[in-house]
Amino acid sequence: MSKSSSPRLTNDSVSIYKWKLLFPLILILFVILVFPLGYSLWLAFHDFSIIDPDSNRFVGIAQFQKVLTNPMYWTVMKNTFLFVLIAVSVEVILGVLIALALSKQRILKNFTRAIILAPMFVTPIAVGLMFRFILNNQLGFIPAFLAKFNISIDFFGSNYTLLTLALIDVWQWTPFIILMILAGLESLPQDPFEAAYVEGANKLTVFLKITLPLLKPVLLVAILIRSLDALKVFEYVYAITKGGPGTSTETLQFYIHKLGFGYYRLSEAAAVSWTVVVIIMIGLIIMLKSSKKESS
């Protein structure tokens, strides 16, 4: 990893030069991230009103108490985590299988990959609207197709809506898992596979005992990135359900958007968003710790 620097490169001017190069990034990250985060934290501990911004007062953890005692918050949390759980698990299983299938392919390799990876490059609002109509009972071709076999599913009925949204997420984001696993597969060492072959191990054993353990670090990163992203699901809800039927698809990002920019309860929105920050940080720490254990 570390590069040996020649004597020419290690002098005093370098120690200033390297910070000069880094400085613009530090400065801009400070302006675009540290300042907004501080401001947001300030809002979460105050009672801020956009109509009368000067009347704000420090309320301590009152906003957080209000948020955490609101049953709606817990409904939103349950919906969001259910969505993430369903979407990410299906994506991981399908993603690994498709990546394995693609990695053995020789003919039309790039063309096939380009098509299969395409959904992740489309703006999510377009995907949401696309499926809203594809699955629509009057206009969509899937219900029309199923009707020919006398099957009738109300994809946006109260029982299935969250599941439908999760499956739309699967359509769009399984390619991301495929991409990560393909990258992981290409950097795998060949020796263990040859050894297993010499010993006459069958395919399933090789997959379970060698491929999967070697892919574990990549898989963990992919799951983490995808979960953090799925936590922010917004466009599908905005395009298709607006949180309904009832509150069955009210998810975090949509809820915060509604609190902040529907009702302009900006302090409450900030407080909810900080509970998300805490959850993300816990997830990140667990990830970093487990990857450290792995490498030591």
């Binding site: 570390s2 880094l22 053995k104 609002i125 594809i134 029309a144 197709f145 968003s273 990140l284």
Partner: protein, 275 residues
Amino acid sequence: MNSYQKETFLFKTVRILFIWISILTVLIPFIWVILSSFKSPSDLSDATNVFFTPILKNWINVFNSGIPINFINSFIVAFITILISLIVGLPAAYSISKFKTGGNFTKLGILIAEVVPSATLVVPIFLASYYLEINGSILPVIFAHLTFIIPIITWFLIGFFDAVPNSLEEQALIDGCTRFGALIKIIIPQVLPGVGAASIFGFVLSWNDMFYALILGGENTQTLPMAIAGFNTFRGVQLGEMSVAILVSAIPTIILSFFIQKRLIKMMGGGAIKE
């Protein structure tokens, strides 16, 4: 192919079938939208009909609407975002890769910057732009896009600089180049293909964002995702036009993705996974 990688006939058949199902699952929704974009309102009500007289009315309507302006807005926002990201990201990534500036602390900082949720940032950015009276312009949208695009581009660039051999720079210094001159003339050209791929990736991320654009953008500065969402309110009647709008937004990013696909796999392998 090594001998141990040989597949049985059954295995190969299942695998190819599986790939075909995946391809069809991806393609059929796109094909349906393409067909819908050429259908008249009466043809649209028959979802499974693939034999119809194609009309161009939807496309003409969309191109006479505000969509071209939204397209330009999206382009400007993404372009400026990438430009700023490269200006600060390139020297910083070089410094981190070459001199390990700030050690793990810097890398951890970039990682944390990448995972800060948009919902936390959008409220303060909204208020700040309100007080600065720039709300409704493209400035707050660009500002917000920088928050997630700078960290990811810098992360990828670190991986590219890591792959450049040290000897190249040393040779340039011996030949009398200044250090900064060597960076501009020798090192940057080496990573240029990677910079291109990372820029395209960042461009797509900015182009596709709706959350920030919805909250921070204004009536006159709507980007494409916002414009597409606008067709939603009219429901079935505007399905044809909406299909066109979906295609107008999706086609450029899908074409761009073809160019970076191979390199993206390498980028993920080099940057995201190793750390």
